[in-house]
């Protein structure tokens, strides 16, 4: 399907190495890892159910929900009317009624018609009731454009969600995290927006067969380095690793942090890294303006001011909607080249040539 075709210049990057894997690990794709996580949750917890537009169709939402309705029955995994706001409310009510709903949106853009239930209701329900009623609802939101997806089928809206008190925002970058963070999100007692990146779907990584959780709010160092820190998430993680490899050839030793979750944000990990490297590049799949990179830059400017030896650089989207033309897409999406340029600039700042 043409939708799935993504410029190989973008996905042709290496798989992030997983730490602590001893014997030859089992390699599966990010999309298989999601499917495996969902299968585990449905199997282990009778309260879990999955719903959304097209969850039982032959494509299975990019293959992430494939055949779950056959395995678990149409009560546990079902197709729905195209009514996103109502579906979100349905998820809230089902959660209040003691279930563990997982709502899937094949595009994050479609969630925008459900913002009333997400922001006015799901996010506020616990607070408004003085803590009496929690809403354990997971909303899978899929981002990433390409192939002319254009402005309404590609939007990375993590900042919008993270801006709202009461929502947690998860952005896995590896197959292993996709499964572990998904299971952790399902176990949370609050609404979680679980953001998957389509350009990661085909990337393989070592994934343990057993069920496991990766706790929310704990970032991870994907590559150790001493000269400069990149704080990245989602698809920007493999891009950053690729950029770090290129920088290494220029004797710049980059540390790459994978935030894993945007909210809660593991700022401490960034802080510790900055105390060592003194230089920061923030890489985000979303827009710069009022975005995640702005938030992290503000935190670093405030908490690591004394450690910083260079301005903070941001690699994120410019203030334009997503274009369709391949020529414009190329200009729109940051590449590892953009990251390398930012690395060089920040690394060289204040150093004698």
């Amino acid at each position: 399907m043409s939708w799935d075709k993504i410029p190989t210049s973008i996905i042709g990057v290496k798989t992030a190495p997983e730490k602590g894997e001893a014997k030859p690990p089992r390699l599966i794709t990010y999309r298989q890892a999601i499917l495996e996580g969902l299968t585990t949750a449905l199997k282990k917890d009778k309260r879990v159910f999955l719903f959304g537009e097209g969850v039982d169709d032959p494509g299975g939402v990019f293959g992430t929900t494939l055949n779950l309705h056959k395995k678990f029955g149409k009560n546990r995994s079902f197709d729905t009317p195209i009514a996103e706001n109502t579906l979100t409310g349905l998820g809230i009510g089902a959660a209040l009624g003691g279930l563990r709903p997982i709502l899937v949106h094949a595009r994050t853009d479609f969630m925008l018609t459900g913002m009333d239930q997400l922001i006015n209701h799901a996010a506020k329900w616990k607070y408004m009731s003085g803590g009496k009623f929690s809403v354990p609802l997971v909303i899978r939101a899929i981002i990433g454009g390409g192939w002319g997806s254009a402005s309404q089928h590609s939007q990375p809206l993590q900042a919008l969600f993270a801006h709202t008190p009461g929502l947690k925002v998860v952005m896995p970058a590896t197959a292993s995290d996709a499964k572990g963070l998904l299971l952790a999100s399902i176990a949370e007692d609050c609404p979680v927006v679980f953001i998957e990146h389509r350009w990661l779907y085909d990337r393989k990584g070592p994934v343990s067969k057993n069920p496991y959780v990766v706790p929310l709010g704990k970032g991870i160092i994907r590559k150790k380095g001493k000269d400069l820190t990149i704080a990245a998430s989602s698809f920007m993680v493999p891009l950053s690793l690729e950029a770090a490899d290129i920088a290494a050839k220029e004797k710049i030793d980059v540390e790459v942090i994978d935030l894993r979750t945007i909210k809660p944000l593991d700022y401490n990990l960034i802080q510790k890294s900055l105390e060592k490297t003194n230089r920061l590049v923030v890489a985000d799949t979303g827009w710069k303006m009022c975005g995640i990179s702005a938030e992290i830059s503000a935190l670093a400017a405030n908490k690591a001011f004394g450690y910083l030896k260079a301005p903070i650089a941001r690699v994120a989207l410019c203030d334009a909607p997503t274009p369709a033309s391949p020529a414009l897409e190329k200009a729109f999406y940051p590449s590892s080249k953009d990251l390398v340029e930012a690395i060089r600039k920040i690394y060289r700042y204040g150093r004698k040539k």
């Binding site: 009317p81 409310g89 349905l90 009510g93 009624g97 239930q117 003085g130």
Partner: protein, 327 residues
């Protein structure tokens, strides 16, 4: 008064009905009298004039059934059995309030009475009630969901989406539209092309009934049918209950005071007061005596007085409570 069969209603039930009606009326009137002191610092949407709907419906519900309400929620909660003192504490912004002072008048809760949170976004409660009904069907726990909303909610798209989904999945839910002909100051007829809301049900292949919202007996009967239908897994019902709000949209004043609606418009509805109607009927037919009613009045007055005293003993939340209960 409706010509319904009331043979089954014993004096004890009639007393219960009266107590329900008068409890809501007095609770709301208490707010009216307290409001000028400015200790209730939360926008109040009063239910005076609409009491029969909440009372009639809730008498047919079980404690475990879910009830979802809206900005005008006090009557629904009281009728479902929420505790007056925690509602009054909530109105006063106290930590002992039913939502720990974080919800105020528009976000009342009662775990005991099955009110698992309240939305003040018009129609926002409907899909959530739908979700609880879905959970009941999923778990086969024999609970049903009832959701109250105004004619204003019928302007919103989610209302139709919910009717569709409920009918599609045969969910155990009863939709109750309290049509008081206004959304804030906007009359129904300037907002809706078909003002017969109950007719919308037909498109979704579910029963739709129109009832006199000021006649508690009529509400009792028709809601009993809808609730039984839901309980027996036969699917949803839409009830349109026509009524009138006596006070202004928000606050303790009247619309006449504010020059928003005329005496001429409100007066006929005051004559059809749901409580007066009930009292006339039961006294004329010698079903309850004046003494019976007086006793209940006194009992409710005392209850309300006690509840207010208890509520005011509760302290304000602490600064450290601000960031609690977010996640």
């Amino acid at each position: 008064m409706s010509k319904l069969q009331l043979k089954n209603l014993k004096p004890a039930s009639l007393k219960k009905i009266y107590q329900g009606l008068i409890k809501i009326r007095k609770f709301e009137e208490k707010i009216v009298s307290l409001y000028p002191q400015q200790q209730i610092r939360t926008p109040v949407h009063l239910y005076i004039g609409q009491e029969a709907i909440a009372v009639g419906v809730c008498l047919n519900l079980r404690k475990r059934d879910y009830l979802f309400s809206n900005h005008r929620n006090h009557g629904h909660l009281i009728a479902k059995g929420a505790r007056l003192e925690s509602m009054l504490a909530e109105l006063h912004g106290r930590i002992g309030g039913c939502s720990k002072g974080k919800g105020g008048s528009m976000h009342m809760t009662s775990q005991n009475a099955g009110v698992f949170g309240t939305s003040a976004i018009v129609a926002g409660n409907i899909p959530i009630a739908l979700g609880c009904a879905f959970a009941s069907k999923f778990k086969k726990d024999n609970r049903i969901s009832v959701v109250f909303f105004g004619d204003g909610a019928v302007d919103e798209g989610t209302f139709y989406e919910c009717l569709n989904f409920a009918a599609l999945k045969k969910l155990p839910i009863v939709f109750i539209c309290e049509n008081n002909f206004y959304a804030t100051n906007s009359p129904q007829k300037v907002r809706q092309v078909n003002t017969d809301i109950y007719q919308i049900a037909k498109h979704f292949k579910m029963p739709g009934v129109c009832v006199d919202g000021n006649d508690v007996f009529e509400i009792l009967k028709f809601s009993a049918e809808a609730i039984e239908r839901a309980r027996k897994n036969k699917g949803p019902t839409l009830i349109e209950a026509r009524t009138f709000r006596w006070k202004t949209h928000v606050g303790p004043e009247s619309d006449i005071q504010k020059g928003l609606r005329s005496e001429k418009e409100i007066w006929p509805w005051k004559k059809k007061c749901p409580i007066k109607k009930f009292v006339q009927y039961v006294t004329k037919n010698k079903l309850l005596s004046k003494n019976d009613l007086d006793k209940i009045d006194k009992k409710v007055n005392a209850q309300l007085q006690r509840a207010l005293k208890t509520a005011l003993k509760s302290s304000y939340p602490k600064k450290t409570d601000l960031k609690k209960n977010v996640y």
